[in-house]
Symmetry: C2
Subunit: 121 residues, 2 copies
DNA sequence: GGCATATTCAACTGCATGGTTGAATTATCC
DNA sequence: GGATAATTCAACCATGCAGTTGAATATGCC
């Protein structure tokens, strides 16, 4: 919901830049999971998985509720929404592809002339 | 457009996990830029900026065209679109927030019963 | 209390990353 | 050809990260 600051975006995108952590998010999308549950699918120590979970938590991507001796994790969609909206800024570049800007650039390419809309240098 | 493999998503999200590189993408959204143009706003050596640009290039986020002794960079929106769609999978979690699943989870929280839809463990 | 379970902490290792500087490369200009 | 400009390369350094193992901390169970 809220606009994330650059350092927050750093940690969110960094957390997403690891297949293990993305897989954990997928599992959490099916429902809440304990640390042990999240670690099970991976061929790594529990301590290593715990670190991944802490990375997700630090990024605000999951919340943890300590229930007795188990820690229950669930998805926290806010930062995902922010990252999604951050990428949405560039949506015009792939929706206008091949009819708008992109074609202009390619034509410019062919002509080998100087930069057309890159005037704001 | 195309679905990115996990290693590709790794490099894309990793590239996005740095404020300098995200800023470079913002500049490229305004039009094509040379390596020197992209480096100018930052208080770092050209060599360092060059490495950032190579990271963006490796992730497929930009394309480079060597024109004489200058290298012209432009945005390549494909991987951004893929990352956007990857995040889109979780959209239901922030759109259904506070009326659907999220409320169920919170109610479950209050009742302190065992996991409701987390049956696929 | 005593034992097993769930999770983290601490210390260590190997490797990647982001930065530096100085030299090398390639192209343009005169 | 020689000087200048744009960019990369190579070597190096500090830091951070992902993984390990072994000990520590709680909690639950009998």
């Amino acid at each position: 919901m809220v606009e994330l600051s650059p350092p927050q975006l750093d940690t969110v995108f960094h957390a997403l830049g690891d297949a293990t952590r993305r897989q954990m998010l997928r599992h959490l999308a099916e429902g809440e999971r304990t640390v042990g549950d999240l670690a099970k699918p991976f061929a790594m120590s529990l301590a290593a998985a715990s670190k991944h979970i802490k990375a997700l938590e630090a990024a605000g991507l999951i919340h943890r509720e300590v229930r007795g001796r188990t820690h229950l994790c669930r998805l926290a969609p806010g930062p995902l929404a922010s990252a999604h909206r951050w990428l949405g800024f560039y949506e015009r570049f792939w929706t206008e592809r091949l009819d708008g800007l992109e074609r202009l650039l390619r034509e410019e390419d062919a002509r080998r002339t100087r930069t057309p809309e890159g005037d704001k240098r």
